[in-house]
Symmetry: C2
DNA sequence: ACAAGAGATTTGAACCTTCAAATCACTCGG
DNA sequence: CCGAGTGATTTGAAGGTTCAAATCTCTTGT
């Protein structure tokens, strides 16, 4: 037995679809005329064009992405890493962002390719593989950390990339889009004031852990002082567990005397505060206002007013920047793009009910359909 | 001005990387010898092989995915739709699932491609595009609904596909992986009993809305009757807003007299129950046990015991099935694959504290790093 | 009626890889 | 010392597309 002597690849079969030659011979023209019909219609006589188009339609012809990308040396794919370990795995924003990126890329004829290693450290190997095999033209980075090795490595390889979130290593790198978290919390403070809450507290992670969170804190502080609101003893700090959140929330509520509002660094923290309010027998909205951050599913269920990141715009801009980067255009000189979030108002900041109609908490029946998650 | 007369595509540039010919001439051999060195090393003399390998290393050569896939007529990509509208957009399981799929596909030399239309209805057009351009070899379906048009269309096109979640249209279709939700809630009931809760209530969406949710309900009911636990008046039904959840939770708690446990259809519902407990002044775990579903980030923060879907296995199996489907192997005859979830135990079912040490709620400091979400 | 030119269409080449077939270099038995 | 056989390596072809250049077919002015 000689052995079949094939490499242990995979993905055998493959079905047959119409090629450009099929269309050409069916329409009685040459390859190039078909190409022209698709790309430069004005170069083709109307009569021929119609005939070719009819055949394209009939045969369901579409240019093969592989052949096309080989010819052009452009894959039309943008890579984005998804980690199965560490933070980001449960990042509730990742799926929606990816959906928006897919949409935005699609408009430009590109698509998103996800990849990821199981091991946390050797993530660069995955980038290298995607890049050297020309599977992707460029990368979208997310969850960039301080001293993140990826930007440096990509730049070294000459691989175009953009980042969702500032690249803290290198202030000279301007191809990033970020959300102005400070503007978000400022917006929240302003909103609370309008709704009649006299004091606005803040609850977030301890300073110095994350620039993003520090930013949100700063936005609260700025808006309060600008609006003549007190800040002393109203900036609370908690860890990432409910006990810590509840304890700190109770303390803040007591400082404010049970009337006021709390702006939170995340929706999850806001839910913790909501919980603390229940413990104290206070009603969210009427007694104490509450604002979350990220407008997650949790916020919706809890009727939480929450700061909403404009994921659609973010995706549009990231893809646009990548497009520019890939075409070798110069990066914007000044800085990246800082987008302003919006506030999604719900019942948790309806105000102290002076008989005035309140924004309802939009009760809905569960959506039908077989979602395997929540 | 004649005009540049180029199609309005995009993604201009493209950087130059080593090709197989570069390696060949650098090593003083022919193309085929390089291929052989990579795919059939035994066919190449050891000395030559080493020389070629050294050049491959030095030049950073990797076969171009496009050229390769054109040659083999296999793209090595698996498509998965991400919607920017409707349910699924905020499905907290999607990102982790996709990460696991990317990992699992990577092991077989494939990768995931995401796509999606902005418009909800014409989603088939996106599938058609991905398929006819041969950008993907096969598809992974999620969030299949009753009367979902996609399975039928894909089958018609001869496009291989698998589904995460049963395909309710067609019981004869067996290429699916799903989580046995009933087993999950049964597990939860059993766990609660072990921890000393005498009654176990259930709270979920109203029956008939979703087969997945009905399944979870059935699991609870089965386990209770099998274990000699009462079920009358303990199966609660709520809508998708906190008010409804809280009201129903309070009623269940009162029926149980403040001692017992509540198994919930989702983590979000469990948080609502948690909230109701706070309103009644009851302590979660010690007084009333609480189990969620999906082991989301919310569950972690709240110290909720939760049913965990084995996403890594799910992804492995989906990719494996797709691999088989693509190679034209026969589908499994009996049925799809129903995986058993596991229980991630946390403080919310620590039991009525008889002095015995309790499972701590794993308080942690927030992870560092610049996550833009929660 | 014919050269020039414009418009329409076809041919040739290249993109990079892999498979199949052909060639080359050796060793060994007769 | 030659033909056969074996192992190592090279050449040819194909896969589907697009660009550049070549060819063909008219129309128009003189």
């Amino acid at each position: 037995m000689a052995g079949t002597d094939l490499p242990a690849s995979g993905w055998g079969g493959g079905s047959t679809k119409a090629t450009i030659d099929d269309v050409a011979s069916a329409a009685g023209v040459s390859r190039q005329t078909v190409t022209n019909t698709l790309s430069y219609p004005h170069k083709v006589r109307a009569e021929t064009r119609d005939r070719v188009r009819a055949e394209i339609q009939r045969l369901g012809y579409r240019p093969s992405a592989a052949a096309r990308s080989m010819q052009s040396r452009i894959s039309g794919a943008l890579g984005i890493e998804l980690r199965t370990l560490g933070p980001g795995y449960h990042n509730g924003l990742m799926a929606p962002l990816l959906a928006e990126l897919s949409r935005a890329a699609g408009i430009r004829g590109a698509h998103m390719v996800t990849f990821g290693e199981a091991t946390q450290e050797s993530s660069l190997a995955a980038y290298e593989h995607m890049w050297l095999t020309r599977r992707v033209d460029a990368f979208v980075l997310t969850d960039t950390e301080r001293d993140d090795p990826r930007p440096g490595w990509l730049a070294e390889q000459g691989a175009p990339f953009v980042s969702f979130g500032r690249v803290w290593n290198d202030p000279a790198f301007t191809r990033w889009v970020d959300v102005d978290g400070g503007a978000g919390t400022s917006l929240a403070v302003e909103h609370c004031r309008e709704r009649g809450y006299e004091q606005v507290a803040y609850l977030g992670w301890q300073p110095g852990l994350s620039p993003v969170m520090d930013d949100r804190y700063a936005g609260w502080r700025t808006a309060c002082t600008a609006g003549g609101l007190p800040v002393d003893d109203l900036g609370g700090t908690c860890a990432d567990d409910l006990g810590s959140v509840t304890a700190e929330a109770l303390s803040l509520i007591d400082v404010m005397g049970g009337r006021g509002a709390v702006v939170c660094a995340t929706d999850l923290i806001a839910v913790g505060v909501h919980h603390a309010l229940a413990v104290r027998g206070l009603q969210v909205g009427r007694d104490v206002g509450l604002v979350g951050f990220d407008d997650s599913e949790t916020a919706r269920l809890h009727g939480l007013t929450s700061v909403r990141q404009p994921l659609d715009l973010i995706a549009d801009q990231l893809v646009l920047m990548l497009h520019d980067a890939f075409r070798g255009q110069a990066a914007p000189e000044t800085s990246g793009l800082l987008l302003r979030p919006a506030l999604h108002e719900r019942g948790s900041t309806r105000g102290h009910d002076d008989g005035r109609a309140a924004t309802p908490a939009t009760p809905t029946t569960p959506t039908t359909g077989t979602t395997n998650g929540d």
